[in-house]
């Protein structure tokens, strides 16, 4: 564990975590009107996850479960319109006034994007495992 050997790294990682999370969240919500979106957000969150896991600040996450949840959300959002007679894949749009971000018009595109985010995080998380960086106990091998 890097964090065990070098507490500074651990602290540094812990310190940048909120900032990165903030950036990710901004990308997620801003995406509909400005550059960004669920995928970009997912990559940022995923990068944070890699950093934290390698640094030993946290245990690896259960990627399959995260991705399954994301997929289910997306599938339901896509399928939902058929229940009120629209073509499936139709998006419901609502407007809302939010602090900082200002007026956003969003709707079912948001849960859709959140689902995307979850899946991307899951993928990045699985990478640690796939490159044999995690041993049988779920700990980092380095």
């Amino acid at each position: 564990m890097i964090a065990d050997r070098s507490p500074i790294v651990g602290h540094a990682v812990a310190a940048i975590t909120p900032l990165a999370l903030l950036i990710g969240t901004y990308l997620l919500f801003a995406g509909h009107n400005n550059p960004g979106g669920g995928f970009a957000a997912g990559l940022v969150f995923g990068a944070v996850l890699i950093l934290r896991t390698i640094a030993g600040v946290q245990k690896p996450v259960d990627a399959p479960l995260l991705m399954a949840a994301g997929l289910i959300v997306i599938a339901i959002v896509t399928a939902a319109p058929i229940f009120w007679g629209d073509y499936f894949g139709d998006q419901a749009v609502v407007s809302a006034e939010l602090p900082i971000l200002g007026k956003i018009k969003s709707g079912s595109a948001l849960p859709f994007d959140i689902g995307v985010t979850a899946i991307v995080i899951g993928l990045v998380a699985s990478l640690l495992d796939g490159l044999s960086l995690i041993d049988a106990d779920g700990d980092l091998t380095t």
Partner: protein, 493 residues
């Protein structure tokens, strides 16, 4: 209709997602995946009935106009393909459940969910009226096949998996380039608009696009000379996986090719296609003869048979397209069941190598019977669907006076028969030379496997029995494809 189409695409996805979530609870997972696949199949039957009665149905996903968004088009060709494809996946999943309860390598819990993803891809590929969505659907099919092929992590699988993945990845890259060409030439990826705009392009660009997509789809379909990846990779996968690959994947390539090349009026490519078709048939058949393993022989047969479908397409006549479609539909269950029987042979004899096999007809006449029906059908013998398929393609060829390719088709037919006798003599006749250990299978699982194989044989016989309806629908599909005006007006209405 909307709900039915949503079901064939999303039910398998939901099943796969839930299956992943509960992947370590075998029974729940199996029930979930089976339910998902079965409801997709039932929905596909509903779509079939709807289109059979009322003609082509167009779904605007998200209610965007076809110029902007994605449309799904359920026309006759699509609804012929869809139920058969989904039935095959369902049957294979049944077989897989039985097999992995007995002997299965690592990660047995993933087969069901991965087949769910595959199903979603197949449904999407068959129904889409959008070239880019077709690309995404291909990726879905391919990525699930990559994982299905390699998920047990054995050395042979990784080795062949690399070949398989790299080949297909390259062809996907070419697909993207092709989309770029098409979009830059026409400003759209909607197939109805493409059917309108591609014929207006200059000959060079039109044929360039046609040839380019021929390479893209031809690689997936394993036509000569782009077939080599197939026999290297298919046989290394577990039998069930190979069965679904063999039954579906190359066929999706041919499906896309038939759709794309007829809709966009690539008739000028006919002669080239016929030459390639002839070479594909012969090389596939000769390749099959050279092998000494059941699964490899069967893998080469896929190639040979693809040649017949290509021949039907390459004739660019109504009868030829009909023949290609009939061949395509007939071939899916036949090929699947042959690989499933290959699995039964492997279980029973401990090997699928011909040199170490023999005498199975006497010991297990039922397996011999399950093999004989699709084998005869594949060799194009009556009264099975394979005869109707071969008959329609060859008589279309004779009607167009395409003598060389007809001769090739007949020679390939003879070679196919010979390679079938090779399996028959090697596996079912004679006596077993060595004592390779059979796989231990419980009675219940054996019954389930035999039952699943029997279902697939039944499907094939069903198609044989209703070959008249199949040809009728094939003609209808061919007419729709060849008169793209109808397709265009249906989609853009």
């Amino acid at each position: 209709m909307n709900a039915l189409v949503a079901t064939v695409i999303l039910a398998p996805l939901l099943a796969a997602s839930f299956g992943i979530a509960v992947r370590h609870k075998a029974r729940v997972r199996d029930v979930l995946t089976l339910t998902g696949l079965a409801s997709a199949f039932v929905a596909s039957l509903g779509i079939f009935a709807e289109v059979y009665r009322n003609g082509t149905s167009v779904i605007r996903v998200g209610d965007w106009s076809p110029e902007l968004g994605i449309v799904l088009v359920a026309d006759t060709f699509a609804v012929l393909m869809l139920p058969v494809a989904l039935a095959i996946i369902l049957i294979v999943e049944l077989f897989a459940i039985a097999q992995r309860r007995t002997e299965w390598g690592a990660n047995p819990e993933l087969t069901g969910p991965l087949l769910g993803v595959l199903t979603m891809g197949v449904s999407l590929a068959v129904l889409t009226g959008d070239l880019f969505t077709l690309f995404v659907a291909f990726e879905l099919i391919l990525v699930s096949s990559y994982v299905l092929l390699t998920h047990q992590g054995q050395q042979a699988q990784i080795r062949s998996g690399m070949t398989y993945v790299v080949m297909n990845l390259f062809s996907s890259t070419l697909f993207l380039f092709g989309i770029a060409f098409v979009y830059s030439a026409t400003g759209t990826v909607n197939m109805a608009l493409l059917a309108e705009r591609i014929p207006e392009l200059s000959d060079g660009v039109r044929l360039g696009i046609g040839a380019w997509f021929f390479v893209v789809f031809g690689t997936k379909a394993a036509v000569f000379p782009l077939f080599s990846w197939l026999p290297d990779s298919y046989p290394t996968a577990p039998t069930t996986i190979t069965a679904v690959f063999a039954g579906l994947l190359t066929k999706i390539g041919i499906y896309a090719m038939i759709r794309f090349h007829t809709l966009t009026g690539m008739d000028a490519m006919g002669p080239v296609l016929l030459i390639i078709a002839g070479a594909t048939m012969i090389v596939g058949a000769l390749g099959a003869l050279a092998q000494s393993d059941v699964k490899r022989i069967l893998s080469f047969h896929i190639i040979s048979q693809i040649g017949y479908m290509l021949m039907g397409l390459g004739l660019f006549s109504a009868a030829g397209t009909t023949g290609a479609i009939v061949f395509l539909i007939h071939h899916m269950p036949v090929k699947t069941v042959l690989f499933l029987v290959g699995g039964l042979i492997e279980n029973d004899q401990g090997t699928s190598n011909l040199d170490r096999n023999g005498g199975l007809a006497a010991r297990r006449p039922l397996i011999a019977g399950l093999f004989a029906v699709p084998a005869l059908s594949l060799a194009g013998l009556p009264p099975f669907s394979g005869f109707v398929a071969k008959f329609s393609v060859i008589s279309a060829g004779i009607a167009e006076a395409a003598t060389p390719v007809v001769v090739m088709a007949l020679i390939a037919g003879a070679l196919t028969l010979l390679s079938m006798t090779k399996i028959w003599l090697g596996v079912f006749w004679g006596s077993k030379p060595d004592k390779s250990k059979p796989v231990r299978v419980s009675a219940a699982n054996r019954r389930l496997m035999l039952g699943a194989t029997g279902l697939a044989v039944g499907l094939s016989l069903f198609i044989s029995f209703y070959a008249g309806t199949l040809v009728e629908l094939g003609e209808r599909a061919a007419t729709e494809l060849r008169n793209s005006d109808v397709y265009i007006s249906e989609v853009l209405r």
